[in-house]
C-alpha cells in the first residue's frame, strides 16, 4: 500500500504556530522569579511545531516501515527474537509499578522488591551461580560490570598483574570491547575447524597474566563447547576466572548451568532469553551472577529479605560501586519476571528444548542447499555459509539477506561470527512453528536458483533499496539542518 503521507522528516513538517501538547495555566500566584539573565535562554530550542494528527501520522506511518516479530519471522542469529507476550505489556502498565519513583522508601515498594528478589533468585538458580546483581543496563554492561568485579577481586588479592582477558575469535564484539574498557588487554583465542575453542591455542596463551577467559557457550556458532570443563580447569589452573557470555542462554535453560560447567561469572540478556522485548535496539537488561567469592564486589544495591520484609542493601563495602544510576532496567526485569513465572520450571526447559529442536530442523532444511560448515546437532542457532553462491554466481550472503526481505522474512545475522566466510547465522527460536520454518527454508532454497541479478539488486519491494553506506560514512550527515 503506497503511503507517502507524513513521512518527511518531522522538521520538514514543522509549521510555525502549530501545537500538539498544551499545558494548563499556572494555578499558583505568579512569582516574578528572577533567574539571573546569564542562566536563561532568549528562546526555547528550535523544536518542530506540528499538530497532534501530524505527529500521529508521521510516527505511525514510519513504524510501518519496520519489520518486527509481530509481523514477520525474524531469525536474526544471536538475538533470540522470540515472541514478546502481550500480557507483559499490559501488566507493565499497572500504575502500582509504572508510577514508582526510584528513590521511594523501601516501605512503599515492597511489591516491587518482592518481584526483584524473586528475579534474583530465579537467575541464581538458572545459572547455578549463587550471587547476583540486576543492575547492568544490557549484556555489554553486564560484561563490563563483571570485569570490574574481576579486577576488584584481583586487586584485593594483590594480583593486579592479571591484565589479560582471553576472547575466542568467534566472540561477540562486546567481549573484547568490554575487556579494553575495563582496563584489561584483550587476547584472541583461535577456534578450531570444529568451531570450538582451540585448546592448544588457549594453553599457549594462558599464564600468570591471565585474568579472565570470556567464553560464549553455546558459542556464536551455535555449538556447545563440549570441552568446557577442561577449559575451566585450565583457566582456573592458571589462576584465571571464567566469564560466560550468556547471550545464548536460550539453549540451556534447566538443561545445564554455567555454574555447574565451570563459569565464575555470567551475564544474562534478559531482553533476549526472557523476551525483553528488543524495542528496535533497546532497552536491555544484563544482570550478572557470580560465585560466592566474587559476591562482595558486585554493584550495589541488592535486594535482600529480612523475614517478610524486603530491603535494598547498600551496605557492601567491597562493592565496585555502580555502573548506572538507580536500580536497573526494571521494565525489562519486570517482563522477564512475568516470563519466568508464566513458563515455570518446566516451561523454561521446554523453551530451550524447542529452541534447539527448531534450530536443528531449520538447519537440516537449509543444509539442502547451503553449506553448513559445522557438524550437528547444533544448539539454538547455527551458521550457514553462502560461499558456494559466492564462488559460482558472485552472490554474497548480504544479497541473500536482502532478497529474503522481498519475501517477507527478516534476514539472518550476516557476516558474523567472523570465523565463517559469508556467514548466515540463523536463530529461529522456540516460538516459531514448523510451517514457518519450512516456508522460510523453501524461500531460502528457491532464492539460490534465482537470477543472480535479482539478488544483487534486492530488495525490490521495500521503500528503499541498498542505501549507500560508504557515502553515509564518508560525508556523515547525522542530523537534519535547515
Amino acid at each position: 500500500m503506497n503511503n507517502p503521507q507524513s513521512t518527511e522528516l518531522i522538521f520538514e513538517l514543522s509549521h510555525k504556530g502549530r501545537r500538539c501538547h498544551r499545558l494548563p495555566a499556572s494555578d499558583v500566584p505568579m512569582q516574578t522569579v528572577v533567574l539571573p539573565g546569564y542562566q536563561t535562554a532568549s528562546a526555547p530550542p528550535p523544536l518542530p511545531e506540528v499538530g497532534e494528527i501530524d505527529l500521529i501520522r508521521h510516527f505511525t506511518n514510519l513504524s510501518t516501515r519496520n519489520m518486527c516479530i509481530d509481523t514477520h519471522f525474524y531469525p536474526l542469529g544471536s538475538c533470540t527474537m522470540k515472541y514478546n507476550p502481550k500480557r507483559h505489556e499490559r501488566l507493565a502498565g499497572l500504575p502500582g509499578f509504572a508510577n514508582l519513583h526510584p528513590l521511594q522508601d523501601d516501605d512503599t515498594i515492597q511489591g516491587m522488591l518482592e518481584l526483584l528478589f524473586g528475579m534474583q533468585e530465579y537467575l541464581i538458580e538458572i545459572s547455578g551461580l549463587p550471587a547476583v546483581s540486576l543492575q547492568p543496563a544490557a549484556g555489554a554492561q553486564g560484561e563490563l560490570a563483571a570485569l570490574f568485579v574481576a579486577a576488584a577481586y584481583f586487586r584485593d588479592k594483590g594480583q593486579t598483574h592479571r591484565r589479560k582477558v582471553l576472547v575466542p575469535d568467534s566472540a561477540h564484539g562486546t567481549n573484547p570491547a568490554s575487556a579494553a574498557l575495563a582496563g584489561f588487554e584483550a587476547v584472541t583465542i583461535k577456534s578450531g575447524s570444529d568451531g570450538l575453542v582451540d585448546l592448544n591455542d588457549l594453553k599457549t596463551k594462558l599464564g600468570d597474566d591471565t585474568g579472565v577467559f570470556m567464553i560464549t557457550n553455546p558459542n556464536t556458532l551455535g555449538l556447545f563447547e563440549k570441552n568446557i570443563k577442561t577449559i575451566a580447569e585450565m583457566v582456573h589452573g592458571a589462576g584465571g576466572l571464567i566469564y560466560l557470555d550468556g547471550a545464548n542462554m536460550n539453549a540451556i535453560l534447566g538443561i545445564t548451568r554455567p555454574g555447574d560447567f565451570g563459569a565464575d561469572m555470567q551475564h544474562y540478556n534478559v531482553h533476549k532469553t526472557f523476551t525483553g522485548p528488543h524495542g528496535g535496539g533497546g532497552p536491555g537488561s544484563g544482570p550478572i551472577t557470580v560465585r560466592d567469592f566474587l559476591a562482595p564486589y558486585l554493584p550495589a544495591p541488592i535486594v535482600r529479605r529480612d523475614g517478610d520484609r524486603y530491603f535494598l542493601d547498600n551496605d557492601m563495602p567491597k562493592s565496585i560501586g555502580r555502573v548506572r544510576s538507580f536500580f536497573g532496567t526494571i521494565g525489562i526485569l519486570f517482563r522477564g519476571y512475568c516470563y519466568v513465572r508464566t513458563l515455570g520450571r518446566d516451561g523454561l526447559r521446554a523453551a530451550s528444548e524447542h529452541a534447539v529442536l527448531n534450530a536443528n530442523y531449520l538447519r537440516a532444511r537449509v543444509a539442502e542447499g547451503y553449506d553448513v560448515p559445522h557438524p550437528g546437532p547444533c544448539m539454538h542457532e547455527f551458521v550457514a555459509s553462502a560461499r558456494s553462491l559466492m564462488k559460482g554466481k558472485k552472490v554474497r550472503a548480504m544479497d541473500v539477506c536482502k532478497r529474503l526481505l522481498d519475501f517477507g522474512y527478516h534476514a539472518p545475522t550476516v557476516y558474523f561470527p567472523l570465523v565463517v566466510p559469508e556467514a548466515l547465522m540463523m536463530e529461529p527460536t522456540e516460538t516459531e512453528s514448523r510451517e514457518t520454518l519450512d516456508a522460510f527454508a523453501d524461500t531460502l532454497l528457491a532464492i539460490r536458483n534465482e537470477d543472480p541479478e535479482m539478488l544483487k539488486s534486492a530488495p525490490h519491494t521495500h521503500i528503499v533499496s541498498r542505501p549507500d553506506e560508504v557515502k553515509a560514512a564518508k560525508e556523515p550527515i547525522l542530523r537534519w539542518q535547515e
Binding site: 512569582q31 530550542p45 505511525t60 518486527c68 515472541y83 526510584p102 564484539g173 573484547p176 542505501p467
Partner: protein, 449 residues
C-alpha cells in the same frame, strides 16, 4: 507449554527429518555429567489469569506516585507523559523490532533515531548526538571516556560534589581500572565555586564535570566553570536537565564541549528507575570519539533519501577492543519516546512546561519556608527542585509525611552525610497548588509535633 507451537506430532516429524530419535539426542554435545539432573527450583508456570492476579497483588503492595503525591526528584521526575508517546512506543513495529541492522527493513526506526539525534542537538545546542546511552549516570562516564581519549591526558577528572551522587559513583567505577583519577570538588554552598575549579585544574586535567540544575536542584555557574576548564585545556562536560531547556541556556550556548543528560523527563515513565535514557551530544570535533551508535542520512541505489547505521567502524562489532565503547543494545525505544515527547511539546510546550516547573517550585519553596524552622539550604537560583533545611532529622520528617500521603522529598543526607536535616523537593508541572498547600500544611504540623 506457553508460547510453544509445535505439537507432539510436529516434533516427531521434525526429529525424523533431523535424523534424531529424541529431543534429548539433540543435546548430545553437552556432556551428561554437566547436565542438570533435577528440575529447576522455580515455581510451576502460570496462565494469564493467574499471572494477572499475582502481579496485581504485588502492585497493590506498592505506594506509587498515583497513590501518594510525589515531590521526589533526584534525577527522576513525575512529569506528564502525553498519551501520544505511549501510543507510538507501543506499536508492535517499534517495540518488537531489533536494532536496525537491515536498513531496508528498518527505515522507520532509523529515521526516528535520526530525528532523535537532531532533536538532541537542538535541545543541547550541540552539533552531533548519538543514538542513545543507557541512562544519565553512565552517560557522564562515557563523556569522560571520550575526554580521556580525545585529550590523551592522564591527569584528573574533576567533578563537582553537587553532581548526582549516583552519577559520580558510576564515573568512579568506570575509571577505577584506568589511568586516571576522579577528584570531587566540594560544594559546601550547594553549588560549585568557579574559583575552586580554577584552583584545581592543571595541564593534565582531563575534564571538568558539572551538573546544572545540580542534585540539590540549584543552578551552577556553568559558563564560568567552563571558562576555567578551557583555560587548562580540559574538556567541559555538562550534565543538564532536558526539561529545563525550555527556559535555561543550553550547554552548547554556555560553552560545554560535551553535554549529557538523563532523558527520563522526556516521556519516560518513572518505572522505579528504568529503562531510562542516556543523552549525549557534543561539538563536532569530538565526532570520532562518540560512543555507541549513530544513524546517518544517505541515498539508496535509486537516489531515494534513506537512513543507515553509520560510522560503525568505531563500534564494538567492527573495532572490537579498539572500539570507542562496548555499547551494543542501547535505549532505542526510549529515544523514540523522547522524540515523540519533544515533538508533542514543541518549543512552546517545552517552554510552558519549564515555566510551570519554575513557578510551582518557587511557590512551594516560599510556602514551605514560611513554616517556622524551615529554610532554604542555598540562596542560589533553582529551577524545579530545591533543598530545604527542616532543623531535625529529615528521614523522620519524611516518614511522617508519607503516612499523610506525601512522597515529600528526598532525605539529602543519604548521599551528603553533613546534610541530614535537608530535604530535596521536586515540583513538576503536574503538581497543583492544592497539593503544594497540602504539603506545606502537613509539614507544618509534623514539625510542630
Amino acid at each position: 507449554m506457553p508460547y510453544l507451537l509445535n505439537t507432539e506430532a510436529d516434533i516427531a516429524e521434525m526429529l525424523a527429518r533431523i535424523g534424531a530419535a529424541s529431543i534429548d539426542d539433540l543435546f548430545a554435545p553437552i556432556p551428561s555429567e554437566l547436565r542438570l539432573q533435577r528440575p529447576l527450583a522455580i515455581p510451576p508456570g502460570m496462565d494469564e489469569i493467574t499471572l494477572t492476579e499475582h502481579m496485581s497483588t504485588l502492585a497493590r503492595k506498592n505506594q506509587s506516585a498515583s497513590d501518594a503525591v510525589c515531590f521526589l526528584g533526584g534525577g527522576a521526575y513525575d512529569h506528564f507523559v502525553p498519551s501520544v508517546v505511549d501510543v507510538i512506543a507501543s506499536r508492535s513495529e517499534n517495540y518488537t523490532a531489533y536494532t536496525p541492522y537491515q536498513a531496508e527493513a528498518s527505515q522507520g526506526t532509523l529515521q526516528c533515531v535520526f530525528e532523535y539525534q537532531t532533536l538532541m542537538c537542538q535541545l543541547a545546542g550541540m552539533d552531533v548526538a548519538n543514538a542513545s546511552l543507557y541512562e544519565g549516570g553512565s552517560a557522564v562516564a562515557e563523556a569522560v571516556l571520550m575526554a580521556l581519549s580525545f585529550t590523551g591526558r592522564t591527569g584528573e577528572v574533576l567533578i563537582a560534589e553537587s553532581v548526582h551522587p549516583e552519577y559520580r559513583l558510576t564515573l568512579e567505577t568506570y575509571l577505577a581500572n584506568l589511568n586516571c583519577k576522579v577528584r570531587t570538588l566540594p560544594t559546601p554552598d550547594g553549588v560549585l565555586n568557579p574559583d575552586d575549579v580554577a584552583k584545581a585544574v592543571n595541564d593534565q586535567t582531563v575534564a571538568v564535570v558539572a551538573q546544572s540544575p545540580n542534585f540539590f536542584g540549584h543552578l551552577e555557574e556553568m559558563e564560568a566553570i567552563g571558562v576555567q576548564a578551557k583555560k587548562a585545556g580540559a574538556l567541559f562536560i555538562a550534565s543538564f536537565d532536558p526539561v529545563s531547556m525550555g527556559i535555561l541556556k543550553r550547554p552548547g550556548d554556555y560553552g560545554a564541549d560535551i553535554a549529557v543528560a538523563e532523558g527520563q523527563g522526556l516521556g519516560v515513565p518513572l518505572g522505579f528507575g528504568g529503562p531510562y535514557l542516556g543523552i549525549l551530544a557534543c561539538k563536532k570535533e569530538f565526532l570520532r570519539k562518540i560512543p555507541g551508535r549513530l544513524v546517518g542520512q544517505t541515498t539508496d541505489r535509486n537516489g531515494v533519501r534513506s537512513w543507515v547505521l553509520t560510522l560503525q567502524a568505531h563500534e564494538q562489532h567492527i573495532a572490537r577492543n579498539r572500539a570507542t565503547s562496548n555499547i551494543c543494545t542501547n535505549q532505542s525505544l526510549l529515544a523514540l519516546r523522547a522524540t515523540v515527547h519533544l515533538t508533542a511539546l514543541g518549543p512552546q510546550g517545552l517552554k510552558e512546561t519549564a515555566e510551570l516547573c519554575l513557578q510551582k517550585s518557587h511557590y512551594a519553596a516560599s510556602e514551605l519556608c514560611k513554616i517556622p524552622g524551615v529554610s532554604m539550604m542555598s540562596a542560589t537560583p533553582f529551577f524545579k527542585e530545591f533543598t530545604i533545611r527542616v532543623g531535625g532529622d529529615a528521614k523522620e520528617v519524611l516518614k511522617r509525611l508519607r503516612a499523610e500521603g506525601y512522597h515529600a522529598g528526598l532525605a539529602t543526607g543519604q548521599w551528603y552525610p553533613n546534610r541530614k536535616d535537608c530535604i530535596t523537593i521536586a515540583v513538576t508541572e503536574k503538581r497543583t497548588r492544592e497539593e503544594i498547600d497540602g504539603l506545606a500544611a502537613k509539614l507544618a504540623s509534623v514539625l510542630k509535633a
